[in-house]
Symmetry: D2
Subunit: 380 residues, 4 copies
């Protein structure tokens, strides 16, 4: 294992460089009998595909997925699902000049130090194209979650300084603007801001928020494999993410316990707040959700809320100071086709990593109690 696998029971292994023959993922441990087609996966890949709007790279690749194994007559067989996306628009010439330089904000320097040399063509394994494997796996995980009534929704909460406050959320608008923001007005302002950055040969970052509904209570394990801990690994492992928070996140530091604790209530029928579960004919719920749906590292049945901070695209056309591979001072001006902000295309990547994490924990959680073991094996 060199860090290219994630998950225990629903386990994904990704591979591939931006300028090699292709990118792919092997999903081992998906339960047998799940309906799955290439269309299910392609729909996810299309959401991260370049060339969707004026704010994304013009690199033009169809990123068509091929299912190489694990699906027979439209259903998963329980064996590894191997997915392949061939690289098409490689244009190695675009990247020739950076072979001997360390680009600021990129992995060139650290890759070289770790491995002794690097595939200098377009970032190699550190390219954003690495996320194709994540998204393809996320599509399969989401297909599984759908069978269990779980839905995930991700969107751009902020682009640069333009933030949509929760009171202004219109989820239906997420798909109406090319930035995937839950408010078309803010999206328009953010779009103008991006345009001005593009003229200035600069870039910006943002915040992606993701919510999940329909989770059973109890997902996650109480110590190192807490639901929030594994989500944090999953999302922080996406290139450019520099922070992850759950529920109120960093705001909790200035809150009081009496504010931050979400009180429990119960009613015969849930009439308000977030349903957290039912018991003996009554619905237990919380009127607030500062915890973001996680207590003690386990899902509490209410809405899961996670935010990720995404840094500005490091590839900018503005001239920057750097050193070359012989440690000589020099300057670098990065040409080529780069997104001025990666947040819109990273939305589906965050959603995918969360889907993969939840799928794995749903399977692991099945073995938590003797009565469930007996239920599966039909024992009294």
């Amino acid at each position: 294992m060199s860090g290219s696998s994630f998950g225990t029971l629903f386990r994904i292994t990704t591979w591939g460089e931006s300028h090699g023959p292709g990118i792919g993922v092997v999903i081992d441990g998906c339960p047998a009998g799940l309906p799955l087609s290439e269309q299910d996966i392609q729909a996810f890949l299309d959401r991260r595909r370049p060339g969707q709007s004026k704010y994304t790279t013009k690199r033009n690749e169809s990123d068509s997925v091929e299912i190489l194994s694990g699906v027979f007559e439209g259903r998963t067989t329980g064996t590894p699902i191997s997915l392949l996306v061939r690289n098409q628009d490689q244009r190695s010439r675009d990247y020739g000049t950076i072979a001997s330089l360390f680009r600021p904000g990129h992995a060139d320097y650290t890759f070289d130090r770790k491995y002794g040399f690097r595939d200098y063509r377009g970032g190699g394994r550190s390219s954003g194209r690495e996320t194709i494997g994540r998204v393809a796996a996320g599509a399969v995980a989401s297909r599984l979650l759908k069978e269990l009534g779980i839905t995930i929704l991700a969107y751009a909460k902020a682009i640069g300084p333009f933030t949509v406050e929760e009171a202004d959320y219109h989820y239906a608008e997420i798909k109406e603007n090319s930035l995937y923001m839950p408010n078309n007005t803010v999206a328009e302002q953010a779009g103008n801001y991006i345009s001005s950055l593009m003229e200035a040969k600069d870039s910006c970052g943002g915040i992606i928020e993701c919510i999940a509904d329909g989770l059973p209570a109890g997902l996650g394990d109480p110590v190192f494999d807490k639901l929030d801990a594994l989500l944090a690994q999953a999302v922080m492992s996406i290139g450019a993410v520099k922070g992850v928070e759950i529920g109120d996140g960093f705001r909790v530091s200035a809150s009081a316990g009496s504010e931050n604790n979400d009180s429990f209530f119960s009613e015969p029928n849930c009439t308000g707040g977030t349903a957290a579960g039912t018991d003996e004919g009554r619905t237990i719920f919380k009127k607030t959700n500062h915890a973001g749906g996680i207590l003690g590292g386990m899902s509490d049945g209410s809405r899961l809320i996670l935010r990720a901070a995404v840094k500005p695209t490091p590839s900018i056309a503005k001239t920057q100071q750097t050193v070359d591979i012989h440690a000589e001072n020099t300057e670098i001006t990065i040409h080529g086709r780069h997104d001025p902000v990666i947040v819109p295309r990273a939305v589906v990547v965050v959603e995918s990593m969360i889907a993969v994490t939840l799928a794995d924990l749903l399977l692991k959680n099945m073995t938590s109690r003797l009565d469930l073991v007996k239920k599966v094996y039909d024992r009294p």
Copy 2:
């Protein structure tokens, strides 16, 4: 595996409940030949021990560690190191009243839903005492890091709304105040704030920051096991942590690429900025460190910077609304001995988890290149 293990080569497995016979950890994979004594471990445990100041629980336990295996004649043998801390001050009677209630902000509800019932004595496995195993392991990891010239320092950057800005850091003052803040003046203000909360039967949270120096470049793997991703899991897995960020963290979302990128420079002798590595007689360094020492998921040789948001202690004496295990609405008033803020005692826990993560990645990184493999096996 049910989530009680962490790490691949330097792998720790913790166990134990707050009111059972004891708490412990097994460390498997610590290299042979490391000098190690019970004193090395006890020094770390004493930093998280209750009863250190008026701001911590009065629960009085010596938390003495016993080395049960893996050390012979003062050195590690390469076999598993088993560490045991017996519980002493259990006072089960303190907790009897909460057996049938779900405490807001605690894991009572989720634990019950996951496992069907729970050890209701003081939180059981979800108690803060669970961190004893983490800290004991962290002491061993730190002993290993010390041999490699790596140092870690953690402290309370903020307690409630009282934050120490970087310009006001005085690292020497961290050990001078019982809140482990890098500024005695702010610590005093924060202390007064805590006292007022205690009178109000309430609690607060804060922010813990941790820095590490002396890391070689290249720690961490490029995809799922990025250094920042594993640190995020490690730190988010600590109870009460609701957010983790690296370097500029959430601030990157409003930054521009030209600001956020840390330029590389080189000089024959390093005269400024943070040294990131040397090559061909020249030192490569960065004058800024927005990245917090990590590029592309791998350490870049500069200072590692991580922050964690800690929520207010959920156990408060103020009366709260909740439900009982029969889903009936009721109220709860939590008596007993609880920290009004857990940040000071959690400082060493964060430091320990980071030490354990780094120790593991240092070992994994040894196999990254063929020339290192040959070096170890004395092959030409």
Copy 3:
């Protein structure tokens, strides 16, 4: 991980040296709600305890187990179960003379080469006492298997050249002789043989056979984690085991396909052969079981059959040629209390490792199909 853990979902981690403070195991992932007491575990440990007969070492230890965590009010809680057995009869003086020599057939030489030095007191981590952790875990696994109607039986099929043929098996006699052989007559002959070896200051080996009944079909995964592959690791990992075979084992090499294949039959009610499963009111079964209950790496519902070859105890009182830690030629005469044959005490160790392997695969197998996932989560 340095090889002290086994299993994925039902995961055990053992620790401890023969002459340190104690030996133990942490079991992570045992489902919550399993009735478990120290008596359940002690019963297993008593079967491997020294001093049971004239053929076992006179080292006298009660090997009393203490449950340190994971059990509350007589049931497992789902959290790690930590078990501790303190060492009592350490007598370090017995082993002083071997500190500077490499005992033939022992791990002294390899341990020294791997770790640079070794705990020379009685084998340290390579002592037979290491199996205490395995047996304690095996007791817990067996308790789980019992709930699912699975039974395991192990016995000594051969001691030295004295072998019990299958036609002569009397399972009831296994507990009637101190060698755990399924035939008292052969056991008596073997006993006399052992006595003669003891006089000759020599030792012998044997073959342990283990059968398991009641397994559902489908345990094990089709490629690397085949049921037989994991059993092979589990059993070969027991010190002194030099071979493992399933069903007809090595005899298959000289068999023909038409002989070796076990034909399938079905009847409305099973009237003969080994029941392999039922379908549509009919029982599918095999009249032969050359396969030993495993097809394609998965249990087929018929009896599991495994055999392990155990080498002669390497500690013998006869003088042997060896070298010391300075590579000088010398002789060694091993005094102390050693079993002339470890087979009888290893019977419960083999049974335990098989129980642990099966418990883990039973849990993993729960997630193999979408319909089982839906069943657990009550989805239509």
Copy 4:
């Protein structure tokens, strides 16, 4: 994880069915800088390719490998190496009749029971073609072992009842006969035997032996991840293998300790026996090697010896009794292109699995001692 991955640091994940688009493997953790080409891998695949002799299936596939990632300018980059072999000669029609039957000796029944249905085309994931991924990975592992001076040699020790005794080994003849036996005369006899079985529409098994030289002492970990334990899993996980033994294997059961122990000797220069290591200018060696190169689960520096029992090909043209998927009794006559004995083609599979296991343990062993850690990181 559903059992399609093997290894910890040098970790392989295989995928693919016999009649799907292709078969492949992802190797994660191969050190950077290893020279590697498609020719290196193709040479291994050609050794298991069908159609090599009259004793192998006439299914005609070139099994050409494509490197999809992880290699740049002829050297491994440290990132995952993805290898793909497209299936060509699928002829689904050959297998149509077996869709509704359970073939004796095959995984049809168990696969159906585990997953609820199966890819009935030629065994799907349980086909012998699954080993393509193992062999491709074995080629890469062998390339790494070669850099460290380690050589592996596998051959057919027995085909049916025709066994080559050690005294009659002529290693040079292994490549001279199509059965890969170390004695051409015995190979001719075995060939005639196979021809007679083919006429009788039957099949046979055999024994594969594998030796490895040049191993450093200390590979393997002392408890569950013993070298022999992991080799046992690796080799037993190959379809059709029913037994694994090390060194004297099952013969140890009838041996005496004084015979079975391999004495140590030392000489200023090694003049006989098997060199086990050197120390202070003297060579430590063993004149015998009953242990097969492993003591206490760790390599002792002498020759590694392993044998695997391979069952007769279950696909035979002779009519057999079986049941269909509705549990009705019926007969089956398997047509198609099947090897009368799989031993010759399995030789390279055994060799590959041993190479993969050794590569992983070589990497893991690098972190066993503090002095090695310091050596890699250039610390005093």
